[in-house]
Amino acid sequence: MAAKTPGGSWDLGFGFWDVGFDSPRTANPTIRRARGSIERVTDEELVLLARQGDPDAFDQLVVRHQSAVFRAALAALHVREDAEEVAQDTFIRAWHALGRFRGDSSFRTWLLRIAWNRAISKRRGMSSWLRRATPIADVAEPAAPGSQHASVNNAELQAHAVRAIQALSPKLRDALLLVQSGEYQYDEIARMLGIPAGTVKWRVSEARRKVRGKLAALGYVDAK
């Protein structure tokens, strides 16, 4: 059953999203009609509403993009709490900077760029992050000869691979993690990092090659 929210609009079970047919904030009839169905509302329309001071519209943008923003921050920071803090900051900054959003790129790309810049700033200021990224040489132990291919699914090998990835240079690691997060296309990552899409692909390939080399040095796999 529909319930009236404190803001005077009707909550029809979409969480914070309200249909808002009777909301005086939604003067534009096109947007007012569009608000009836959550799927039909584009990011641009939500941005327009949010610019007019509608927190519900911005909340819907948070719902749509929070996962992408969070994973971008996580790819840069590797720590869940830090990533969540950066994601929050990203949305707050975006809310206050909505007036400066010109629409040259999509809202999502603009948001991800803010998130990435925030995460990189935090990473640069984090002294503890370096302590968390333990070099693979300090923890890895050579595997028994002849067991490389048989133990591909081995949890131990997986752990070594994780450590090898963490020990990569930031540029290679960032590209590999952003691609593997499954949230972004190559061109989105390219815009986020400010590099060509071809460079992103090369970095991902180079990251794999280096991790493979580390694993080979440990005797787990053959180096190609």
Binding site: F16, R71, L74, E84, V152, Q158, A164, L177, V221
Partner: protein, 187 residues
């Protein structure tokens, strides 16, 4: 639209190098997870929290103005009207002040003009204009004697001797009159 960079076909995934698949799996492990449910609420609360002072600003400004006016009014009531005690005693209510005409500044009229005006008033209004023009007030002896200025003595300028200018010796230039022929039409 596929937003993910995973291979679109299972065939491609199955035929990938197992080590590459392992590396990709390890990478996904590092970025796995979703934001907590509280994050959305926290964002909304921070937005509302930062917004509220601005939305309250007009109300706060209005309340401040009302308080300031009230303080001024109460202050006047308690301390009474400004000025010396004598001036305050002479202050009348507004209605009374409005009923009586305001005192006009006293204009000091010269004695002669006043006398003429009195005579004109006694004769009546019909001849007043002519009398005002005809009647000249009698001059009274001024307290300060007038200054006597002697006329200046100047030499007379002799007029009637024309100035003769000798010729400069330059022959006048004779200019032939221009001969202008009418324009011929081009055929």
């Amino acid at each position: 639209m596929s937003m993910r960079n995973e291979p679109p076909l299972d065939f491609a995934r199955e035929n990938r190098d197992p080590i590459d698949a392992l590396i990709d799996s390890a990478a996904r492990q590092l970025v796995a997870g979703e934001p907590s449910l509280s994050m959305r609420r926290a964002v909304r609360e921070r937005i509302e929290h930062r917004r509220s002072p601005w939305f309250l600003a007009p109300a706060i400004a209005g309340a401040a103005a009302v308080i300031a006016i009230a303080i001024v009014l109460v202050g006047r009531t308690v301390s009474g009207p400004a000025g010396t005690p004598d001036e305050r005693a002479n202050v009348r209510p507004t209605s009374e002040r409005a009923a009586t005409p305001a005192p006009q500044p006293q204009v000091v009229e010269p004695e002669g003009i006043r006398r003429v005006r009195l005579q004109a008033d006694q004769r009546g209004p019909t001849r007043r204009l002519a009398d005002d023009v005809a009647a000249v007030p009698q001059e009274e002896e001024p307290l300060i004697p007038p200054l006597a200025i002697e006329p200046l003595e100047t030499d007379q300028i002799a007029v009637g001797n024309p100035i003769t200018v000798e010729s400069s010796g330059v022959m006048p230039i004779e200019i032939d009159p221009l001969q202008i022929e009418p324009l011929r039409s081009i055929e």
